[in-house]
C-alpha cells in the first residue's frame, strides 16, 4: 500500500484523523524525512477545534513502540494457556495467509457459525461486516456493551438518535450522572472539553452524581456521591418531587410532543379505536376520541376516566401513580443521597429549565429549556439498564428539553442523521437497533450471544461466557471451534475471565489481527500484524456531538515493518477462502450503496484500500470529492444546522409511554412458551420505569457488604492504551490510578492503609490489589481504575500494578438486563486484607 502523495521529504504537517479511541479527532502530524515527529489537533476541524487529548498526543508511541509486532508470526508451542509462551516464529505473509485460509476454510465448509469473531476496531465499523460475509453470526466480545448495551437502544427508541448530549452552547444547568462528557470521556473528548470549558466560563452550573469524585465531579459545582447502580433512584425521586410535590412540568410539551396523553387500559395497552388508533381524552367533549381527532389544547394530560365501564388513565397518569411512593425519603434509602438534596436538585433543575420560554435561532422560534440531565456508562450499565435509561430520558421530558435549544440533544449514528420514520399514532418510529436490523426470534438460536432473543437490545457478548461452555442448555446445535480476533481482547473485556480461558482452550484455531500482543493474542496460532492509524486509510464519521461530516485518516509515513492494512488482510482472507464476492456485497450493504447503485462495488473485482475509500468518499460527497480531495483538504466536517439538531423529526411525537416495549415482551413470552422455555427472564419489558432492586443490590444478603466499580479517564481507551509507555507513565503519577481506591472512613474501619494488599471477592471471583486511601469515593465503594486492569502487557511497571476488574463480574442472565441484554458493570464484594 502506498503512502499519501503529500508526504514530503522535508518537515511538513499532514492532515489526518486520530485513531487512539473510537471518535477520531482531526490531527496534524509533523513528518520529517519520513519520520513522524509530533501530533497536534487540527484547528481547521470544528469537531475538536484544534484540541487533542493525551491519547492522541501519544499516538507516536504506538507507531514506533519497540514491542509492536512487525512480521507475521506462527505459534510453535501447541500448549496454550495464560502465561504459556507461544514460542512465536516469524513467517511470510503468504504462509500466514495460507495457514489461516486453510484452517478457517475448513470451518466455513463445515459450518461457518463455528467461527467466533471479536472485532474491536470501533472506527472501522464497515469492517465489522466481515463475519457476515464469512457466514458467522457470532459476536465474541462485550466491549461496547459495557457502555451502550441499554443506552443506544433507548436513544434510538426515543428520538431515532444513537447517543445524546446536553446542548453545550445554550444549557445553563447540567446534571451529569455517571459520565465523563465534557471532562474525561465519551463523545469526542477533546472538543467536548473545550465546549464544556466555554460553557462554564459563561456561567453554566454543573452537578455531578457519581460514587467516585471523578474528573467531572471534581470540576463540577457540586459532587453528590451515590451508591453504584442507584442513580435511577435519585432521578425517580426528582421526578416524584416535580410531579407530586412541586407540580411543575412542561404540560405543553408532554401533551403535544409525546404520547403521554394517550389513554392506557389496565392491561398496559393503549385504548384503541375500532380502526386501531390510540385514544386520548377530549376535555371539551368529555369523551375518549382517536388521538388525531382531539384538538391539542383539549387533550387531557392527567386523569383517570371511564370508557365502556372500564377505567383508563393517560400514560402520564400511569407514571404519576407509579411514582407516588418514590418519595425522596424512600429513594434516599436506596441511593444514600439525602432526601433534602434530591428535593433541592429537582427544584434547581425545574427552575433552570425556564418552562414556557422560547428562543429564536436563525429566524425560527424554538422552545428554550436550558437545563438538562446527561448520563452515560456508570449510571446505566446495569442489569436494569433499560429502566435507568428510560428514567433519565423521562426526567428530561418532564421539563420539555428533548431536542430543543439548551436541552438534551440526540446525537445521530453518522452523517445520515437521525433515523426519522413515521410510526404509529403520529409518533416517530422507535429504532432500537441501528447497527443492524433486529433478527427475528429463533430457536434453536443461530448466535452464541443469543441476539435472536433480544429484539430491542444490542449484542450481549457477555452471554458467550454462559452459552459456549454449555451450548445445549441454550439450544445451540453446534459448537464453535475457531476464533478471529481483530484488535479485540475478549480475555480482557469479557466478564468471568476463568470461563473465557476455558472457552479459548476449546478452540482448535485462533487468528489475531492486531498491532501488539494482548491477553487474547497469547492464545493465537497465527498473528497478522496490522497498521496503526498513522499508516492506514479511513474516512471517519462517528457520533458527532455538534458537527457532522467525515475526516480522512491517511498514511503519514511508510508502514513500519512488514505490516498491512486490516482491510487488506480481511479482503485477502476472503479471497483465499473464496468469498470475496460476498465480502464486496456485504460492504455494499453496510456502506449504503444499495440506495446508490452507481457506487455498488463489483462483486467480481478486488478493490485496493485506496479504491475502496475513494468509492466511499464519492458516494457521500459526490464524484468531485473523492479520496484525492480528502488527502488535500483533510476533512469535510461542518457544524450541524439548527434544523439538523433541534427536533429533526418535525411534528412526530416521541414516546413517553413505551407500549412497544410491553408488546415486544409479550411477543417474546409467546415465542419462548412455544419452544418450551417458560423460565427465560422477561421481566424488564415494561412500558415505564420504576425502582426495583437489581441482583447486585440483592447480593448484600449473601454477605457482600461493599460495591466495586471500575472507571475510565481521558488518558486511556478501554485500557488498550496501557501498553503505551507514555500514557502508562502519566497514569502512574496520578494516585487515583495507584491502586484500589478506598474511602478513608472505610479504611479506618477495616484497619487498612495505603499500600496494604487487599482482596475483593464477588459472587463471580476475586482480584487483589494495593489499597489507595482517598477521600473522594463513597464509603461503601471500592474503585479500580481501568489502567489497572491489564494483566498481560509488555509494560512491566503497569503489570506490577495490575489486577483485572472483570473477574468480579458475571455474564449470566441474572446480571443482564432481560430486555436489552445490557450487562451489569458493578459488583458486590467482600474485602480482606491479604497479609504477607
Amino acid at each position: 500500500m502506498g503512502v499519501a502523495q503529500s508526504v514530503p521529504v522535508e518537515s511538513n504537517w499532514i492532515p489526518s484523523t486520530c485513531g487512539m479511541c473510537l471518535h477520531g479527532c482531526g490531527i496534524l502530524v509533523q513528518v520529517r524525512d519520513g519520520v513522524a515527529l509530533k501530533i497536534e489537533g487540527d484547528p481547521s476541524n470544528p469537531d475538536n477545534l484544534g484540541k487533542l487529548c493525551p491519547k492522541g498526543n501519544a499516538g507516536l508511541s504506538r507507531l514506533y513502540d519497540p514491542t509492536r509486532v512487525l512480521k507475521p508470526m506462527k505459534r510453535t508451542n501447541p500448549q496454550k494457556g495464560p502465561g504459556i509462551d507461544p514460542k512465536w516464529v516469524e513467517i511470510s505473509w503468504d504462509e500466514a495467509y495460507g495457514i489461516v485460509a486453510q484452517e478457517l476454510g475448513k470451518v466455513r465448509a463445515d459450518d461457518p457459525r463455528k467461527l467466533l469473531c471479536a472485532i474491536g476496531d470501533f472506527q472501522r465499523i464497515l469492517l465489522w461486516g466481515w463475519p457476515a460475509a464469512f457466514g458467522s453470526p457470532n459476536f465474541f466480545t462485550s466491549l461496547g456493551n459495557y457502555c451502550g448495551g441499554s443506552y443506544h437502544p433507548v436513544n434510538g427508541s426515543v428520538d431515532g438518535s444513537f447517543a445524546a448530549i446536553n446542548d453545550y452552547d445554550l444549557c445553563n444547568y447540567w446534571i451529569q450522572i455517571g459520565s465523563g462528557d465534557g471532562f474525561s470521556s465519551h463523545l469526542h473528548l477533546a472538543g467536548s472539553a473545550k465546549r464544556m470549558a466555554d460553557a462554564r466560563m459563561r456561567g453554566m452550573r454543573v452537578v455531578s452524581l457519581d460514587p467516585r469524585c471523578s474528573i467531572a465531579s471534581a470540576k463540577a459545582d457540586e459532587w453528590i456521591p451515590a451508591l453504584p447502580g442507584t442513580d435511577r433512584a435519585f432521578v425517580l425521586g426528582m421526578a416524584h418531587v416535580l410531579i407530586h410535590e412541586l407540580k411543575r412540568y412542561d404540560r405543553e410539551f408532554l401533551r403535544d410532543r409525546t404520547n403521554a396523553p394517550y389513554l392506557v387500559k389496565n392491561d398496559g395497552h393503549h385504548l384503541r379505536s375500532a380502526d386501531g388508533k390510540a385514544m386520548a381524552w377530549d376535555l371539551k367533549l368529555g369523551a375518549a376520541r382517536p388521538w388525531d381527532e382531539v384538538a391539542a389544547g383539549n387533550m387531557a394530560l392527567e386523569g383517570t376516566f371511564t370508557v365502556d365501564n372500564a377505567s383508563v388513565r393517560t400514560g402520564f397518569q400511569v407514571w404519576t401513580d407509579l411514582l407516588a411512593d418514590h418519595t425522596p425519603e424512600r429513594m434516599s434509602q436506596v441511593s444514600t443521597v439525602p432526601a433534602g438534596t434530591i428535593r433541592r436538585i429537582a427544584k434547581e433543575f425545574v427552575d433552570a429549565a425556564q418552562i414556557g420560554a422560547t428562543i429564536e435561532i436563525q429566524g425560527k422560534t424554538y422552545p428554550f429549556r436550558p437545563a438538562a440531565l446527561n448520563y452515560y456508562r456508570g449510571s446505566q450499565s446495569h442489569s436494569n439498564g433499560l429502566f435507568d435509561n428510560l428514567t433519565f430520558k423521562m426526567i428530561n421530558m418532564l421539563v420539555g428539553n428533548i431536542d430543543v435549544p439548551g436541552g438534551h440533544l440526540g446525537v445521530p449514528l453518522d452523517h445520515r442523521g437521525f433515523f426519522v420514520h413515521p410510526g404509529e399514532d403520529g409518533m416517530l418510529k422507535p429504532e432500537p437497533h441501528q447497527l443492524h436490523p433486529a433478527p427475528p426470534f429463533k430457536y434453536p438460536p443461530d448466535s452464541t450471544h443469543l441476539m435472536e432473543w433480544f429484539p430491542i437490545g444490542f449484542d450481549a457478548g457477555q452471554l458467550n461466557t454462559e452459552t459456549l461452555l454449555d451450548p445445549k442448555k441454550f439450544g445451540l446445535n453446534y459448537e464453535p471451534e475457531a476464533v478471529l480476533l481483530y484488535h479485540s481482547n475478549p480475555l480482557w473485556n469479557l466478564p468471568e475471565t476463568d470461563k473465557v480461558e476455558k472457552i479459548m482452550a476449546k478452540m482448535k484455531f485462533v487468528v489475531a489481527i492486531d498491532i501488539q500482543h494482548t491477553e487474547s493474542t497469547q492464545w493465537a496460532d497465527v498473528f497478522l500484524p496490522a497498521h496503526t492509524f498513522l499508516e492506514s486509510y479511513l474516512l471517519n464519521c462517528l457520533e458527532p456531538p455538534a458537527v457532522t461530516g467525515h475526516s480522512l485518516r491517511q498514511p503519514v509515513v511508510e508502514p513500519v515493518g512488514d505490516t498491512r492494512d486490516a482491510y487488506d488482510i480481511l479482503t485477502e482472507l476472503a479471497e483465499r477462502m473464496g468469498f470475496r464476492d460476498d465480502w464486496n456485497d456485504v460492504l455494499n450493504m453496510v456502506c449504503g450503496y444499495t440506495a446508490q447503485p452507481k457506487y455498488l462495488l463489483d462483486s467480481e473485482k478486488r478493490y485496493s484500500v485506496e479504491e475502496f475509500w475513494d468509492q466511499y468518499a464519492r458516494s457521500v460527497y459526490g464524484d468531485e470529492k473523492g479520496l484525492d480531495w480528502f488527502k488535500e483538504h483533510g476533512h469535510a466536517v461542518r457544524y450541524r444546522t439548527p434544523e439538523e439538531t433541534y427536533m429533526p423529526y418535525g411534528d412526530l411525537r416521541i414516546p413517553f409511554y413505551f407500549e412497544f416495549i410491553l408488546r415486544t415482551g409479550e411477543d417474546m413470552r409467546r415465542n419462548f412458551t412455544e419452544v418450551g422455555l417458560k423460565d427465560w427472564p422477561l421481566d424488564n419489558y415494561q412500558p415505564l420505569p420504576f425502582w426495583k432492586n437489581s441482583q447486585v443490590i440483592e447480593d448484600e444478603k449473601a454477605g457482600y457488604e461493599y460495591f466495586a466499580i471500575t472507571f475510565k479517564e481521558g488518558l486511556h481507551t478501554f485500557a488498550d492504551t496501557m501498553v503505551m509507555p507514555w500514557l502508562s507513565e502519566v497514569s502512574e503519577k496520578d494516585s487515583v490510578h495507584g491502586g484500589v481506591l478506598i474511602n478513608s472512613l472505610t479504611a479506618r474501619k477495616l484497619g487498612l492503609k495505603t499500600g496494604d494488599r487487599i482482596r475483593l471477592t464477588s459472587p463471580a471471583g476475586s482480584i487483589e490489589g494495593f489499597a489507595q486511601v482517598i477521600e473522594g469515593i463513597h464509603p461503601q465503594v471500592f474503585g479500580v481504575s481501568n489502567t489497572l486492569t491489564r494483566y498481560v502487557v509488555t509494560n512491566d511497571r503497569a503489570k506490577e500494578r495490575g489486577t483485572h476488574f472483570n473477574r468480579l463480574l458475571t455474564g449470566s442472565m441474572r446480571y443482564t438486563d432481560s430486555a436489552t441484554g445490557g450487562l451489569e458493570s458493578t459488583a458486590r464484594v467482600r474485602v480482606e486484607w491479604v497479609r504477607a
Binding site: A132, P137, T141, L435, H436, V586, M589
Partner: protein
C-alpha cells in the same frame, strides 16, 4: 417496453448467477413484481418465486428501488424507465457493540 437495471447482491446474486444486468420488460408500466417474474433463477424458478410468498416480499429479503427499500406489500410499484432494482438478503447478523 420498459428497461430496468438489476443489481443482485449476496444470496440473490447466487440465485440468478449474475450481479448486474439490464433487463427489458415486455410491456409498459411494468411493476417490480413483473421484473422479478422475468428473472429466471438457477433452480429453474424465477426470482419472484424465491423472494415472494403470498404476494408479499419475504421478511429475509429486501428490494430497493430508487434508493428506497420497498415494504413487503409494495412489489406492485411501477417502474420508470432506467430505474435500478437492487435485490438482496437482509443482513441481520452484523456485529454490534
Amino acid at each position: 417496453m420498459t428497461s430496468a437495471k438489476i443489481a443482485a447482491l449476496g444470496t440473490t446474486r447466487k440465485m440468478l448467477g449474475f450481479s448486474r444486468r439490464t433487463v427489458e420488460v415486455e410491456f409498459d408500466n411494468a411493476t417490480v413484481a413483473d421484473v422479478l417474474r422475468q428473472l429466471p433463477t438457477l433452480d429453474g424458478r424465477t426470482l419472484y418465486d424465491n423472494l415472494v410468498c403470498d404476494g408479499r416480499l419475504r421478511g429475509d429479503f429486501a428490494v430497493v428501488v430508487d434508493g428506497l427499500s420497498l415494504k413487503a406489500d409494495q412489489l406492485n410499484r411501477r417502474l420508470q424507465g432506467g430505474e435500478e432494482v437492487v435485490t438482496m438478503a437482509i443482513l441481520r447478523h452484523l456485529h454490534g457493540g
